[in-house]
Structure formats: structure tokens, C-alpha cells
């Protein structure tokens, strides 16, 4: 066990008291946090997307804000606005909810493209610009966005460029029978279960863990393996757009973070394979004929994975 693994275990235990999904899902959110990335949770309504996001936020401490997206939400509502102060005869900047440590953007696809774009700079640069004034976001800045894949009316699908800004995308899925039973048992009072959660880590510790992840060893063969997986997507005839260099870097860093969470100081092929689908699924674009046939990004990635020989076994094949 290393420090990161111990830290992740604490958060996992805390989140598990209110979220009854798999630890694997929590681990993936922590991977994004450790890599200074952002998460898109995409699933049908009612499976616990918001509970998961809020409980992770509550566990890591710091300031937490939530934006409930609607079509009439304006960029100023997100970034902040300057208000005239009659006492000083000047404009005072009132920061929006984006200036926080953890931001939950609920139902992001309900916001208009203008508002979605306003979040772009925050996600990519760690700063926001309003009326010529640039304000740095706190460190760490961690954004969790949720969206439902089933509703299309009154929604604005995220543009490809914005999807690429999310470090990884996950879906929770329906819980198994035992988990669902546990959910029923736990909801005995009206009280919001997440409100009872206290943080189990400090922001300094989060920053320290983020630094720690970079020291995870990745062997030369595994680096070549990651590159191979990424390059295959660029030549795949079923895809219109393959994984960008940002995507290969995300896969590399994500594997390091997952290895650290699993208590190792080196990365294995399983780390790469386990993080591959969440990291790459929003970074590829299917050709229209594939989409119309019902082929999904996950299937393509799984197919690519199953055809690549793990190192060093390629030397033996």
C-alpha cells in the first residue's frame, strides 16, 4: 500500500456510506481528480449520478458549488458578473459558482452552447475571463458534469471539442439486487444522506497526491503499448476521428493514477486496459454508418483492446 492507495481507500469508504455502486466507479472519479481532469457522468436518470458527484465532493473537502443547467442559464450565471457599486462608483466583480474547488454541473446538456462554451476555458485553462478580467480558479479545481443519454428534446449535445476536455466519461449502470436493497434500507429518513458526510482529506493532501501520481513508473514496453492502442484508433476504418495526442496523454496519466490507487508504484497492462474505455470513449468519433448500425464507441475500443498483444508477450508470439 502506498500513500495514494491509502488516501483513495479513505474516500472510497466515505462515499460508500451513501453511494451503493461499485468501488470501480469511485476509483475512476478519483483517477480524474488525481490527473487534474474533469469527469462526465453519463447515465439514465435516477441511478445516483448526482449522489456520487456530491459525495465525492463532500469527501475531498474544499468549497463545493452546484449548477443545475437549464436552457435559460446564461454564461454570466456561471462565470460571474460585474455589478455597479454606488458607494465606490465602480463595478465590483461578483464571482459565479465556477470559482470553487469542486463544481457539479448537473444535466450539462440542458445548458445552451454559449453557456457550455463558457465552461471550456475553466476546464482547460483553470481560469475564467469576464469583461476582460482574468480570474484564476482555485487549486484543485475539479468539475463533475452529468448528462442523460436518453433525452434529446430541449437539450444541446456537447460539441466534440468539449467532450475531449473531459478527462474521462463514465456510466454507473443499474445497481445489483443487493446494492438496491441497501439503498432502500439506508433511506429511512427524509434527510439528505450526503449532508451527513464529512471530508476525509484536505486540499493540501489532494495536491500532494496529484504530485505523487507522476512518479509512477511506466516501462518502455507499456509506453509503446499505449501508443499502439492510440494509433490503431487513428487508422481504424470504422472511425471518423481517432484519439488525439491529448487522449494518449490522458491514457498514460490515467494508467499511472489507477496503478497508484491500486497500491503499486508501477503500471501494468491491466491498468491501461481498465481505464481505456472511460478515457477514450469520448475522444473518438464513429462514422455515421457505424452509428446507424448501432455500433458503440465502447465496442470499438473493446475490439481494439482484444486485438492488441500485451507486452512483453508480443516478443513470444
Amino acid at each position: 500500500m502506498n500513500k495514494v492507495s491509502d488516501w483513495a481507500q479513505r474516500i472510497r469508504n466515505n462515499v460508500s456510506t451513501v453511494f451503493f455502486g461499485s468501488d470501480d466507479t469511485i476509483d475512476k472519479i478519483l483517477v480524474a481528480l488525481l490527473c487534474r481532469g474533469h469527469v462526465l457522468i453519463e447515465d439514465v436518470p435516477g441511478v445516483g449520478k448526482t449522489i456520487l458527484a456530491r459525495s465525492v465532493s463532500a469527501s475531498i473537502g474544499g468549497e463545493f458549488r452546484q449548477i443545475q443547467c437549464t436552457p435559460d442559464l446564461l454564461p454570466a450565471d456561471v462565470l460571474g458578473v460585474s455589478v455597479f457599486n454606488p458607494k465606490t462608483s465602480d463595478f465590483d466583480f461578483r464571482p459565479g459558482p465556477v470559482i470553487t474547488n469542486t463544481l457539479l454541473v448537473d444535466e450539462i446538456s440542458r445548458a445552451t452552447p454559449r453557456t457550455q462554451s463558457a465552461l471550456l476555458e475553466a476546464m482547460a485553462e483553470g481560469q475564467v475571463s469576464v469583461e476582460g478580467r482574468t480570474t484564476a480558479l482555485p487549486d484543485p479545481f475539479f468539475m463533475i458534469a452529468t448528462e442523460s443519454p436518453v433525452e434529446s428534446e430541449g437539450t444541446f449535445p456537447l460539441p466534440e471539442v468539449q467532450k475531449d476536455r473531459f478527462f474521462l466519461s463514465i456510466s454507473i449502470g443499474y445497481p445489483d439486487v443487493d446494492s438496491e436493497r441497501a439503498v432502500m434500507k439506508s433511506r429511512k429518513t427524509k434527510a439528505d444522506p450526503v449532508k451527513g458526510l464529512s471530508s476525509v482529506t484536505e486540499l493540501d493532501e489532494v495536491r500532494q497526491m496529484q504530485e505523487e501520481v507522476f512518479s509512477m513508473h511506466v516501462s518502455e514496453e507499456l509506453r509503446a503499448y499505449i501508443l499502439h492502442l492510440v494509433r490503431v484508433t487513428r487508422d481504424d476504418e470504422r472511425l471518423m476521428i481517432g484519439v488525439s495526442p491529448r487522449g494518449s496523454l490522458a491514457l498514460y496519466k490515467g494508467s499511472q493514477a489507477l496503478a497508484a490507487i491500486r497500491g503499486r508504484d508501477y503500471v501494468t497492462p491491466e491498468d491501461v486496459q481498465d481505464i481505456m474505455v472511460p478515457v477514450l470513449r469520448k475522444r473518438i468519433l464513429l462514422k455515421s454508418e457505424q452509428s446507424s448500425r448501432g455500433v458503440t464507441e465502447d465496442e470499438i475500443i473493446e475490439d481494439i483492446k482484444s486485438k492488441a498483444t500485451v507486452p512483453p508477450m508480443q516478443d513470444a508470439v
Partner: protein, 520 residues
Amino acid sequence: MDEKRLQRLRSFSHPLTALSVGFLFVWMLDILLRATLVRLLFTPLAPSTIIVPFVFAVEAVISTNSIEKSRSSAVSVRLREVLALVVISVGAFLFLGGYIAAGVFNPVRAEIIYGVAFTFIAWIIVAALHGLLKRREAFLKLLVGKKPGEELQEAARSANTESGEADEAVRKIRSRTITLSLLGVIFFVLGSAAGIDSLPLLARIVTGQLIVSAFVVLAANGWLWENSALADGVASVHKILAKRYRVAVFLSAVVVLISIPLAGDDAIVPPSVIDEFMRRVTNQLDRDMDRTIDTSDLFRERQRLDDEITPGERRSLAAVEQNQTTQQIARVVGLVLLGAIAAGMLYFLISPLFSKDARQRLKSFNPKRIIGNFFARIRDGFRGFVRSLKELFQNSKRAFGEARRVVQNFRENSGLFQGRSRRSGTPKRQKEVGKLLRSYIKLIKWGEKAGYAYQPWMGPYFYTNRLATMVPTQAEQLKAAGSQFEKLVYGKQKPEANEIDAFGSRVNEITQTRPERANA
């Protein structure tokens, strides 16, 4: 779609289809060549040596199934097979030809090379046909266990790509079967024209090939129908198909029943029967056309003979004549029936060639344009080659850089070379990893004996943990071995000699035990 039916298709129907269609064609070609061209050039080995191509044709279908099962690298396995085919078939032909017994071991002989070439042709045709049918299996595999109705419909529609590939593969099987049978008929015609001795045998095989082809075309049409039915959620189509097969069996039985009395022991349609039939037709025509001939002499001669024989002899002769006439009538009727059935089967086989698509293709067929294009392509190719050479000499540095880039891309993207391109850096490192790999492969082989097949995409931790659940008696040791291996291979510290040895010893400990599965 139930697992048993898929198993039947995988182990019986598909291999048998590929084997019968492919091998019968090769056999016919062999008979024709032996009796014509080959005989002029050299003395071929005994016809019974066809057993060697047959054995390798069987091997082709078995290995296709096993490659699919083990998901191993098909290219390397196939290359090994070709090598084994050449070596074993050379040995077999030397042995069967009596060369080894005579102390002759030099395989560079026309008859041996001819045999090996035929073995290779049989192997590659059967493997190619079976490979096509594998695509259908891949589609059906996705539907195993799905309940008829919505669930099956959903599964079939989500497997759209596989369904399309399966349809295309079945269409290819159908068209290739028709082509091979037509070639068989052409071989028979050529053999008849050349008056080869082995014509009766060739006739038998051509008939067999036509019957097989009829079945395959029927089955292929049924498979296409089944694919579309599956997309609508209907699962029990094969029961309806079985009725069609029964009709085909009945028709084939009729053909065989008619052909046996006609053929006797020598041939399905002996040349003597054809001669007799043609003579009778010619005689009839002669009589009809030559009514003016004076037959009084013939009549008188007949009268004289009639007067000379006794009444008993006359009765016997009449009985013999009547019997012969009955037989001849039966033969003619049989031939007409057989001809009608053969024509029907031929129409059934070639009717797709007259479809709307085929007619369209025929309309656009322009030999002059094709020949013109052919020479234009050669001319363009030559000009392009000259231009490339010029550019290469004018800007050799950039050209070689480009070539290097192409090779590099190929190496990176090709599964065949990806291993080499990612081979670990220094020779020392290769040596260390090589030692560990040998032990790990030993463990994998042991695991495969325990019933858990290794796939190249599986990482060591994943594989050993899955294996541990199957072999609980060695679970702890297996998990420890998996962790140890990944630490040594992917870890930051370079593996020490004693650590490599320790891993080897652990693997030896595991592999010395007999793999006992949890459910055994």
C-alpha cells in the same frame, strides 16, 4: 439460437460443406490432368495418392476451428501449417511412391512436386471456404441464448456488422460452389472429348459434386433467409429449412436410383448406353429418310432364316428380343428422366447467373474496354515506375526518408511486426525478459491444460487470477506468481538474477502438479 445448433454447425455442417465442395473440385481437376496433360509430361503417382490432399483438406477445417477457439495469431499458425504441409506431403508422396523403400530420398521430381502442389491447392481452397463460413458462425455466436422475439431481434440488430458480413460470406460460398460445379461439368465434357480412360470415375464425381452443390446452394439460400428471419426475432427457421433439405434428399435419391441400373458397375452413364441410344436414333432417322429403298431382298432373307429355325428356337429368340427391347425402353426412359432432372438441377444452379444484377453486369461487359484498360494500367504502371525512379534519383534523401516512414508505419500498425517494433531495448533487458517469459509461457501451457485458454490481450495479473479461480488448489501460488511476474517485468527495479530464478522455481512448483479444475 441454441448452443447445440451452433456447435453442430461449427463441428459438422460448415466443415463438411467446405470439405466436400473444395475437395471434390480438386479431385476432378486431378483426374482430368492425370489423364491428359500430366501423362504427356511425366508418369504421375498412383491415383490413390489423392488421400494425401484429402488428409490435408481435413486438417485445414480442423485447424480453422482450433485457430478460432484459441484466438491465436492466424498468420503464424497458417505459415507453420504450410511448412508442415510441404514437409509431410513430400514425405508421404516419397513413401507412397515407393521411393523411400528403394532408397531414393530426392524429392525434386515432377510427380512429387505435382502431388505437393495439389495438396496445397486442396488445403487452401478448403481453408478459404471454411474461413468464409466462420463469419457466419461469428454472427450466430452473438445470438446464442437469446430468447425468440424482442430479445433476439435486438441482439440480431445490434450485431448488424456481423450480420452483413455473414450474408456476404454466404453469398460468396454460393457463387463459388456454383462456379466450381460448372467447372466440374466442363472438366467432364473435356474428359469425354479427350476420351480418357477414367471417364466413369470422373462422371461419378461430377454427379456427386452437382448433388453436393445443389445442397449447398439450397442451404446457402436458407441461411440468408434465416439471417433476415433472425433480425425479425424468429428463431426456429432451421426447422422449416429441414423440410427443404428433405426434398433435396428425395430428389438426390431419385437420381441415384435411376442412375444405378443404368450405370451397372462401371459408370453412371456407360458410353455403351449412349452409343446404343444414338444408334437407335440414327437408325430411326435413316429409316424415316430412306423409305424408297427396296427391302424385298432383306424380306426374302428374313423369310429364309425363319424357315430354317425350329418353332422352339423361334420362341426363344422372340423372348430374347422382347426382353432386350424392354431393357432398351427402360434405359431410354431412364435417360430421359435423368436428363430432365440434370437439366432441372443445372437450371437451379445457374439461375442466379441470370438474375437482374447479372444481366446488368452482362450489359456493361465490354471486352474491348477491359483489354484497353488492362493495357492502359500496364502503361500507367510503367510510367509511374519510371517517374518514381527519376524522383528517387533527383531527391534521394527525401525519398528514403519517406520510405522509412512508410516502413515504420507498417511496422507499428501491422500485427505481424508489432512485436518486433515494441521489443524491449537493450540486449540485456531482452535476455532478462526472455528468461521470465519462458517461465511464464510454461505457466500458460499448464493453465491451458487446466482448461483456461490464454489470449494475447490478457495481462499476467488478469490471467493468473482467472486461472486461480479455476484451479483453487493452486490459487495462492498462481496469484503470487502473477504478482511476482508483473513486478519483475513492469516494475521500476531491474530484475535480479535470484528474483528471476525464484519466479522460475515457483512456476516449476506449480507446473509439476496436475491441474485439477474446480468443477472437475
